[in-house]
């Protein structure tokens, strides 16, 4: 009897939770995974920041802001978002020009708008605005896109990406470009065209080399052979690999990573926090983190597949895949697979407005899912 009562109560509670999530247009599994990731991130950030409570509080504030944005955006209906797309994109482009003109210069790059209370990175807006506009553009057109559409899409994608790259913020520019290009790819861009574009890209890379800033070239060169400059440009990569490698399977233990705690690992609470996980929690910790990320990506893809209008599906797929690109660029960078570009580990790295953008993105994704047109209705 007692057990039955308890079981019944649990069932009632569960169904109550489900009802609440449903009312809020939230997806339970994705929300739980994001929550676990946030907690994991805070745990490692506490260690990486040198037990800085201040850092944790700031991150919690950003997460709260992001959660608010997420909750708000889940209620946005697809057609509202669709109609919002051109306006958001236009505002974003405008802000990028403003940054170029008046933005705050920090570490040699001009990325921020000072809004008094906090500094705001307009490039973050473009991470969502670009796939939104691309999806908006393709929504009324047949798929796969024809050549004319591709040209328009190229402008939509590369205008903001180019502006951000000139700030210069190569990492964000790559992510913006990736979000748009992934969308086009999902929209059915023929594989032949992809190959042609890859060739063109290679040519563009050669051209781009000539337009790169010295520090960007240095990053590429250092990536190709970090040992050439172990105390200069290669220092980050070498120390990061030492941190990960010396963590072994089980890690050195929380707050016991010598590379991180004794300052050998640069940018340990921001771009290189993945190395701290590797050093302190070992391979097991890294695999657990990757599993969380993969679950989030997988769940996001599943949610995207459930939507049934072109705009929603393209946007949702793009958001999910961009999130993966985000993860892969950062982890590939700190483990020495990719060059060092300033891409933070999503939802774990400290600082920036990316937490807000990312959670907003997941809010949109959940919203698109819950506002999907059910088949037959």
């Amino acid at each position: 009897m007692i057990e039955n009562t308890g079981y019944a109560r649990t069932r009632r509670t569960l169904s109550a939770t489900a009802r609440l999530l449903s009312a809020l247009n939230l997806d339970g599994p994705l929300l739980v995974a994001l929550g676990l990731l946030a907690i994991y991130g805070l745990v490692i950030l506490y260690s990486a920041s040198g037990q800085s409570v201040d850092t944790i509080l700031r991150t919690l504030m950003r997460m709260a802001l992001g959660a608010a944005a997420m909750l708000a955006l889940t209620h946005a209906k697809p057609h509202f978002l669709r109609h919002l797309s051109p306006w958001l994109y236009a505002v974003g482009i405008l802000l990028l020009f403003v940054v170029a003109a008046t933005g705050v210069i920090d570490k040699g790059a001009q990325r921020w708008l000072n809004l008094g209370l906090f500094r705001f990175q307009p490039s973050e807006v473009m991470k969502i605005a670009v796939p939104m506009l691309a999806a908006w553009y393709l929504h009324d057109r047949g798929l796969p896109p024809d050549w004319k559409s591709l040209l328009v899409l190229a402008v939509i994608i590369f205008l903001p990406a180019g502006l951000v790259a000139m700030e210069p913020d190569l990492g964000t520019a790559a992510l913006i470009a990736a979000s748009g290009m992934l969308l086009v790819l999902m929209a059915g861009l023929s594989i032949r065209v992809v190959l042609v574009l890859l060739l063109l890209g290679a040519g563009g890379a050669v051209l781009g080399w000539n337009f790169m800033h010295d520090y960007q070239r240095e990053r590429v060169l250092t990536f190709l052979n970090p040992q050439t400059d172990p105390l200069g440009a290669g220092y980050h990569i070498i120390q990061s690999q030492i941190a990960i490698g010396s963590g072994g399977v089980f890690g050195k233990g929380w707050m016991n990573g010598s590379q991180a705690q004794l300052d050998f690992l640069p940018e340990r609470s921001t771009d290189f926090i993945f190395s701290v996980v590797g050093e302190e929690f070992g391979l097991i910790g890294l695999l657990a983190l990757l599993a969380l990320y993969l679950f989030i990506v997988g769940r996001s893809l599943w949610l995207a597949m459930q939507t049934n209008d072109t705009f929603s599906r393209l946007l949702a797929l793009s958001l999910a895949l961009t999130f993966f690109v985000y993860v892969f660029i950062n982890t590939g960078m700190v483990s020495g697979l990719l060059p060092v570009v300033g891409v933070p580990l999503p939802l774990v790295s400290y600082g920036g407005t990316s937490v807000v953008t990312l959670l907003a993105g997941f809010g949109i994704l959940m919203g698109l899912y819950s506002h999907r047109k059910l088949v037959g209705s």
Binding site: L185, M186, A187, Q241, G245, G248, S258, L262, G298, G332
Partner: protein
């Protein structure tokens, strides 16, 4: 109407999205597998490699310098020990701007401005993370000044180091040597790893000769450091067992020197330039090795400015010259006993046959005149013993001439003339035992290479080309005392390791002098004994030896020989006067050994520009022998007049206790002789 198309599109779209999503999932899977593969490579396959790098990153070896060994005299009295001193150390990799830092240290008066270049060189000669001393032995005000400005000098810090302390200041400096900062040149021939943390290195004398024993083995401490190289104190898994290797103190050296004898020698020389060497003839132990003037070894350990060093190096009295080892002088009449032995051994003379000493010698068929060197001129009727005791030149002009240069050289060489004694400190000079072959080699012009018979005559009284060092003559006096047995002079007779165990080093006996009959030895040594006495000699009556005044009232029987080394060659037909300028006056020699029957000490005394040997040198020899045999000696020049002086105490120093941790003299099982 559009509806069917839309529916078809929708199906197409659905299929397209499914295909593309599947493709994306495959790509994601491939990328994730690559990433996981990379992580396994880093964390499993290359785990050990990266662990080593990570440990290398955070662990630094801090050297702990070993305590330098003490130097003791033969009775265990500490002649050289260590005391704490503050020094300024710089770690290159922690200094943001080395040139600027050195300039500012110089502005604070901590580094001499003219030493900045040398300091910078020595900094770059060391590894970037080794602390390099930039200012040794800082004074109180300097420490205060630095403390105030300390925050302006990252990478520069005060450190306590042991430095060398010489309780008796300049005493025996030419035997003990000194230590000073490790120079670039030193770094060429030492193992840098073994000297990390060591500031001072032996430069001369015992300090240099036994550097390896004295230095000991530096230890190290593993220190946890952060990326900036600063040591950090943290407990955790990233700081597992930090290694610690304690230093092993250098061995203490037990020297043959006898403090009291050494002091007697140095006080005896007083302000004169000169040298005294005393040797135990039965084993080669150097009991005293003094060269005057001296210098303070402490200033080398402290560090000198180039100006200070120049003043020392350019001093006309040459305090840096070790006259005992490197001063080469004509032996003067001290050669006569050996010439007499040669004549007896080659049987070219009847020692009891008397000649009449007129004060003048002529080679047959030559008009050149050799005169008696001493001012009193003629000795009258003399035999060989009288000629030694009263130092008759004319007798030995004849002997040398009869012997010929070849036989003299053959006989004299085993005594040690013209060759290194082999003493265990470096810098010794061999002197010259001239021969026709030597002359051929030494001179360039053919007319100078010819050996003239007159040069053999000169050799008979130790003038001409013959040169000896005070050490050589002391050794030769020892060979005479031991009737031909020759022991290699040595300063080190034993070592005492960090645990207090003493290892004695056996003496080394060299070939020595062979083929001299006992009666010859008796005859010559008796003559030498009479040098120090006034006694009634059959046939000759009351005979006073040239050194008798100095040995009046001695409590033992001694044997000796005076000598006068000409500096300025007076024309042969002139008489020597007392009015020759100080620097051109002759050097005074005295060699002696005692007690006569069982010699325990052989001495050679050289006093530069002091004139006749008996007056200046013999009293010093008396004082040295008194000190060693009787454990007391007269502080004034007249041994009989003043009360005896007992073993002096070392000068008190500022430090509270002996700096050396492992050994104190009282605990050492070294024989302690009381006066």
């Amino acid at each position: 109407m559009a509806s069917p198309v839309r529916i078809k599109d929708r199906w197409n779209e659905q299929r397209l999205f499914s295909q593309r999503t599947l493709g994306a999932i495959l790509v994601i899977a491939a990328l994730v597998l690559t990433l996981v593969g990379r992580l396994i490579y880093l964390q499993v396959y290359r785990y050990n490699y990266y662990v080593a790098l990570s440990v290398g990153n955070r662990v630094r070896l801090d050297p702990i310098p070993a305590s330098r060994g003490l130097i003791l005299d033969r009775h265990g009295t500490v002649l050289v020990d260590n005391e704490p001193a503050y020094q300024l150390e710089l770690i290159r990799e922690q200094v943001p701007n080395l040139n600027d830092t050195l300039q500012r240290l110089s502005a604070l008066g901590l580094v001499e401005p003219d030493e900045i270049d040398e300091t910078r060189r020595s900094i770059f000669a060391r590894r970037s993370f080794d602390p390099v001393p930039v200012a040794l032995r800082m004074t109180g005000p300097q420490i205060g000044r630095f403390a105030v400005h300390r925050f302006e000098f990252p990478g520069v810090d005060l450190a306590t180091r042991q430095t060398r302390h010489y309780p008796y200041d300049e005493l025996a400096v030419h035997a003990l040597g000194y230590v000073s900062a490790i120079s670039e040149e030193d770094l060429q021939h030492i193992d840098r790893a073994k000297y990390a943390g060591t500031a001072l290195i032996g430069k001369l004398g015992v300090e240099a000769a036994y550097e390896r024993l004295l230095h000991g083995k530096n230890g190290y401490r593993e220190v946890l450091v952060n990326a900036m190289g600063r040591s950090v104190q943290r407990v955790g898994a990233y700081a597992p067992e930090l290694g610690y290797q304690p230093p092993v103190a250098g061995d203490d050296l037990v020297l043959s020197l006898d403090l009291l004898t050494q002091q007697a020698a140095e006080e005896g020389l007083g302000d004169h330039s000169g040298a005294v060497v005393a040797i135990d003839p039965s084993d080669g132990d150097v009991l005293a090795l003094a060269s005057k003037p001296e210098f303070d070894p402490a200033q080398f350990a402290r560090g000198m400015s180039p100006r200070e060093y120049a003043a020392l190096a350019d001093d006309p009295d040459k305090p840096l010259l070790n006259r005992a080892l490197r001063g080469e002088y004509p032996s003067g009449s001290t050669i006569k006993p050996t010439i007499a032995l040669a004549a007896l051994t080659y049987n070219v003379v009847d020692p009891y046959k008397t000649i009449y000493c007129t004060g003048i010698f002529r080679l047959p068929g030559s008009s050149v005149v050799w005169r008696e060197g001493t001012t009193d001129g003629r000795h009258g009727e003399i035999d060989m013993q009288q000629a030694i005791t009263r130092s008759c030149d004319v007798y030995f002009y004849g002997l040398a001439s009869t012997l010929g240069v070849d036989r003299i050289d053959t006989f004299l060489a085993p005594f040690g003339y013209g060759r290194l004694t082999g003493i265990d400190i470096s810098g010794e000079k061999p002197g010259v035992l001239p021969s026709p072959a030597w002359k051929k080699k030494f001179f360039k012009r053919p007319q100078d290479e010819v050996w003239f018979p007159g040069e053999t005559v000169n050799l008979g009284i130790g003038q001409g080309y013959l040169l000896v060092t005070p050490l050589q003559l002391a050794h030769i006096a020892g060979v005479l005392a031991e009737r031909g047995k020759s022991f290699r002079p040595r300063l080190l007779i034993g070592t005492r390791d960090a645990d207090g165990r003493i290892s004695r080093i056996p003496p080394v006996e060299d070939a020595g002098v062979q083929g001299v009959s006992n009666s010859s030895w008796d005859l010559v040594l008796q003559a030498m004994r009479r040098v120090t006495t006034c006694e009634d000699v059959p046939l000759f009556g009351e005979t006073c030896g040239t050194g008798h005044a100095a040995f009046k009232g001695a409590a033992y029987q001694a044997a000796g020989k005076t000598g006068t080394a000409q500096v300025f060659t007076v024309a042969r037909n002139q008489r020597l006067t007392q009015h020759v300028a100080e620097r051109l006056r002759d050097h005074a020699w005295f060699i002696a050994f005692a007690p006569f029957d069982h010699p325990r000490i052989a001495v050679a005394v050289l006093v530069e520009h002091a004139g006749f040997g008996a007056e200046a040198a013999a009293p010093i020899a008396r004082r040295v022998i008194d000190a060693y045999l009787l454990r007391q000696y007269a502080p004034s020049a007249d041994p009989a007049a003043a009360p005896p002086k007992s073993i002096p105490k070392p000068k008190p120093t500022a430090r509270p206790a002996a700096a050396h941790s492992t050994a104190t003299p009282s605990s050492a099982p070294v024989r302690q002789e009381q006066p």
